[in-house]
């Protein structure tokens, strides 16, 4: 999934100014609970670019009509069901 951005006006929040190459990690209660990470715009652009590249590379192959048909063929009974005991035992040599 590509990284997308959600703009917030600078008047609405008070944030420190990160330096390029620096990630400011906002912790809640302890270092285990990270609430947000603040990046320099250049670093975010790099991260977003990489994210988009990787997302574009994700390839999936779709199920074709032939694939669906093959599936139906494989899942359809082909012959008679044998469920009388004598016939079952005879076929199995029991």
């Amino acid at each position: 999934m590509a990284l997308h951005s959600s703009p917030i006006k600078s008047n609405d929040v008070r944030l420190p100014e990160p330096q390029p190459g620096e990630a400011l990690v906002v912790e809640r209660y302890s270092a285990e609970h990270v609430k947000a990470v603040i990046l320099h715009p250049d670093d975010f652009a790099e991260l977003q670019g990489n994210s988009e590249l990787l997302d574009d590379l994700a390839t999936t192959s779709d199920l074709s009509d032939l694939g669906v048909r093959a599936h139906r063929i494989a899942e359809s009974p082909e012959g008679d069901l044998i469920d009388d005991e004598a016939s079952v035992r005879r076929l199995l040599g029991l």
Binding site: L54, L57, L81, I82, E85, L91, L92, G93
Partner: protein
């Protein structure tokens, strides 16, 4: 149906058929057969004949390895779970500390309605969507945990993805140059 990889649902899951196989016969107890070859030979003698097998099944929680489902087939791909209470305390600790590559523990805080469990990398199952109780998800692994699980799965089953990776790296290099 909208499903997400890493989600856990209750499902009807058969045990994997193994010897002795049990063949259903009308109005009698199932016929037990000790080997697969005996059944193969018997059915080949009978042309397109088919047997109905008796397979034990139960309701189990399963983890969806893929969120992909196609209404034309209804197929889903999932992993069975193991309840950690079935293990010794030492074994359980090994799993909970992520030291057992074939068992990925499910974080209890995200699966509150599920007994402490681990996803079994060695036990993939194919399910029909109608065998899944989709009324309520029992929780979901996050993306990072799903990546770890998929990596373990690919590694255990020895899928050879090297050429795919090489092709993707080359494509990545090409796109970086043209950006």
């Amino acid at each position: 149906m909208s499903l997400t990889p890493g989600e856990v649902y209750w499902a009807i899951v058969p045990y994997t058929p193994a010897t002795p196989f049990k063949i259903h016969v009308a109005d009698a107890t199932p016929v037990e057969v000790p080997s697969a070859s005996q059944i193969v030979d018997g059915l080949r003698k009978g042309g397109d004949a088919e047997f109905e097998f008796v397979v034990r099944a139960k309701a189990r929680p399963v983890l969806l390895l893929s969120g992909r489902s196609d209404p034309r087939t209804g197929d889903l791909f999932a992993l069975r779970l193991l309840r950690l209470e079935k293990l010794s305390s030492q074994e359980r600790q090994r799993v909970e500390e992520y030291r057992e590559p074939t068992l990925l523990p499910l974080p209890p805080k995200r699966f509150p309605d599920l007994a402490d469990s681990a996803a079994m990398v060695t036990a993939p199952i194919r399910l029909h969507e109608t065998a899944l109780d989709t009324r309520k998800s029992l929780g979901r692994l996050d993306r990072k945990e799903m990546r770890a699980l998929v990596e373990r799965f690919v590694s255990y089953w020895q899928f050879d993805l090297r050429q795919l990776l090489v092709a993707q790296i080359r494509e990545l290099q090409h796109r970086r140059k043209t950006r």
